[in-house]
């Protein structure tokens, strides 16, 4: 975008190129057109105007995330959900590492009882982080895993339980119902609790990302989003539509394979990165 508006004269072709840049960043054709139309109405240099339009789509306010128990002296449940292959398990390891750095105690619940070796993958991370894991046999009821994990955390005075769930396409009703059931189990075990439900979204996802976020949010209620694989060439422009339409904040960006590659989401920096595309 910087390059497009660097030339001095701004004509129809310049705006069209700007719109294409937004589309190429997965902002989506409808929203890209809206951003450009809004920018043209602004009394500001074009690049600044587009920047302002994009920032206006993102939610205002503080995004600092720390799970706090709603029920005194009980563990806070954190449910990590998303479609297949977005990086849920790796993200959980990063979240756990982050919490532990603050001195928060964490227990992991291996509630992905479906994918082959998902439990082993979570265990490998837990060993590296020296964290306790609650796991059942393959194909066990994920709700029961979470229930036991909350019990174990409660007995051991552990502050946060992060539950890994099986990847599921948002179009599969039976699998979506399973998530609702896990949430019910939590509410039964910890009446009055407000689980943190975090949706993991792959940065390379296109327009389907909005649909994913909407269906997961309608089904279980999502509190925040973590966008993974931001170290790829993708710009994750779908985030604008998600924050604008669903009012769901992006909390973190996954930026690599190691445990500390999890950055708090910074709207200014996110928009700047898009500009440098």
């Amino acid at each position: 975008l910087r390059r497009i508006f660097g030339g001095g004269t701004v004509d129809e072709a310049t705006w069209e190129a700007a719109e294409e840049t937004l589309i190429a960043a997965d902002v989506g054709p409808a929203l890209a057109a809206r951003v450009v139309a809004g920018a043209r109405r602004r009394d500001a240099p074009p690049a600044e105007a587009i920047r302002a339009e994009l920032l206006a789509l993102l939610l205002p306010g503080d995004r600092a995330w720390r799970p706090a128990p709603a029920v005194a002296r009980q563990p806070q449940p954190v449910l990590v959900i998303g479609v297949n292959g977005t990086g849920k398990t790796t993200t959980i390891a990063k979240l756990a590492a982050l919490l532990r750095r603050d001195g928060t105690t964490v227990l992991l619940a291996a509630a992905d009882t479906f994918r082959a070796a998902a439990v082993e993958q979570l265990r490998a991370w837990a060993e590296r982080l020296d964290l306790p894991v609650v796991a059942h046999a393959p194909r066990a009821d994920p709700g029961a895993v979470v229930f036991d994990a909350l019990d174990a955390a409660s007995a051991r005075d552990i502050a946060v339980v992060i539950a890994d769930t099986a990847g599921r396409l948002h179009t599969k009703r039976d699998l979506m119902d399973e998530l609702t059931k896990i949430r019910r189990v939590i509410e039964r075990r910890l009446p009055g609790s407000r689980p943190d439900v975090l949706l993991v979204l792959d940065a390379t996802t296109g327009q389907n990302g909005l649909h994913q976020a909407r269906v997961f949010h309608e089904t279980v209620g999502v509190n925040g989003i973590i966008v993974t694989k931001m170290d790829s060439t993708a710009r994750a422009g779908i985030v604008f539509a998600i924050e604008d339409e669903l009012q769901l904040p992006v909390l973190f960006l996954g930026t690599g394979e190691s445990l500390d590659d999890l950055e708090p989401f910074d709207p200014q920096r996110f928009v700047t990165a898009l500009f440098e595309a």
Partner: protein, 442 residues
């Protein structure tokens, strides 16, 4: 959003009813919506630009066929063009060499490991003897995942005992040698997920390909991928000559424009597509079907085939056997429910019939109200033993099931009673009668 878009496109096209020749105005109106539809489907914006320019050129001034409206003729043209773009190259798998080496590459989470197992099973069904091998030293439990999936597919897996795992080229060579020694004619190498910007890992996969000279190098691409699909595919193709694509997660509702973009830009054919979580959910790619899907047009063919495929002959025979032996349990009943579901959400199926977009929404709503989900929840809340023998269900078990499934005791009682009556009925019929066609299709 997708529905809105295809509804809009349908409306625009319906308005274009002129006779004679296709006018520039008609083309402009259609092109505007077609461009939006393609971009919403994640087709790369450059590909869209070329596509709409070519369409305009081809359409303007064309004689409208007597049987069609201008709108229908444009759609036909779009569909032909999309199908042609998706028909690039040779879609057959060339398994030369002994063993033939098939290398799967792609980004993290695209579905390589699952695809490796599915491809193994797919080839085994065609009489091949595949060996699966994980050459992923990075992701925790990657080899274990492949081993579990291989077991589900009934295939051997090379574990690489004693191999220096971090040297993937050496591992791959050992896997190929192991396949040869064991008389396997195909070895499927599941490589680690990597980002195209990671130079070290891209160099690693290049070396691996040089070391084992794959007959097929398949790039595994998530159907939900956005605009970056093209540059990712180009980067992989530059590092290791890719021979084709496997498009995964097509059982979601993504339109899959990424596949079109990659094919259009690189000329690489889509060879296979992953259509579900089970190890046998891998199908040859059909360009015409994806073309219909990208544009949001009906696809009657897929509907019919899916309905046939979901309840296959063998399963029907097994079921008849079980009925005859009076061994039909709630477990089998659950399987049947799943098969109906495998056909996809009912609304989606109806949506595949052209002109039925509105009905699709209603069908979906009725499913959402429906009893099927509640019945399934009840059966799922039973233990395996209870499903196999519902007579053990005493009051306290039934109460637990009602709570676990979020239903009521009355509903559980009703289901158990109905099932018992059904079993009684079956006993009376007994004696190896064939299952009526259509039973189990809901």
């Amino acid at each position: 959003m997708f529905d809105l878009l295809s509804d809009r496109l349908r409306q625009t096209l319906a308005r274009l009813t002129g006779r004679g020749r296709i006018t520039p105005a008609a083309v402009d109106a259609a092109v505007r919506d077609i461009r939006l539809a393609l971009l919403e489907a994640d087709v790369n914006y450059r590909v869209v630009k070329d596509f709409t320019a070519r369409l305009r050129e081809r359409a303007i001034g064309q004689e409208i066929l007597a049987s069609l409206t201008a709108g229908q003729q444009i759609v036909k043209m779009v569909n032909e063009e999309l199908t042609e773009l998706l028909s690039h190259g040779d879609r057959t798998l060339h398994l030369t060499g002994s063993p033939a080496v098939v290398l799967l590459v792609g980004m993290q989470g695209s579905g390589k490991t699952t695809s490796a197992a599915k491809l193994g099973k797919y080839l085994a069904r065609q009489g091949r003897r595949p060996l699966l091998a994980a050459v992923d030293p990075y992701r925790p439990a990657a080899a274990e995942q492949l081993a579990v999936l291989a077991k589900q597919a009934g295939l051997p897996v090379w574990q690489g005992d004693g191999a220096q795992k971090s040297d993937v080229s050496a591992s791959a060579r050992l896997a190929v040698a192991a396949a040869r020694a064991d008389g396997r004619d195909v070895v499927i190498l599941d490589s680690a997920g990597r980002l195209s910007v990671n130079e070290a890992l891209m160099a690693e996969i290049r070396d691996l390909a040089v070391a084992v000279k794959p007959a097929e190098t398949l790039l595994v691409v998530d159907a939900m991928t956005g605009q970056e699909a093209v540059s990712v595919a180009e980067a992989f193709h530059a590092a290791v000559p890719v021979t084709g694509l496997v498009l995964t997660k097509i059982d979601g509702d993504a339109r899959g424009g990424a596949a079109l973009s990659i094919s259009a830009v690189t000329g690489l054919p889509v060879k296979l597509m992953g259509t579900g979580e089970k190890v046998d959910a891998l199908e040859p790619f059909h360009p015409d079907r994806l073309a219909g899907r990208i544009l949001g047009m009906g696809d009657v063919l897929t509907l019919v085939e899916r309905a046939q495929g979901a309840f296959d002959e063998r399963q029907a025979r097994e079921m008849t056997d079980k009925l005859a032996r009076n061994a039909f349990t709630l477990e089998d009943f659950l399987d049947q429910l799943q098969q109906v579901k495998q056909m996809g959400p009912l609304g989606e199926l109806v949506g595949m019939i052209p002109g039925m977009g509105g009905l699709a929404k209603e069908a979906q709503a009725s499913i959402e109200r429906g009893d099927m989900t509640r019945i399934e929840a009840i059966v799922r809340s039973m233990t395996r033993a209870e499903r196999n023998d519902p007579t053990v269900l005493n009051g306290s078990r039934r109460r637990r099931i009602a709570i676990g499934s979020g239903t009521s005791l009355a509903e559980v009682n009703r289901l158990v009673k109905q099932f018992a009556e059904m079993q009684k009925l079956m006993r009376q019929f007994g004696g190896g009668k064939r299952l009526p066609v259509g039973l189990g299709r809901g």
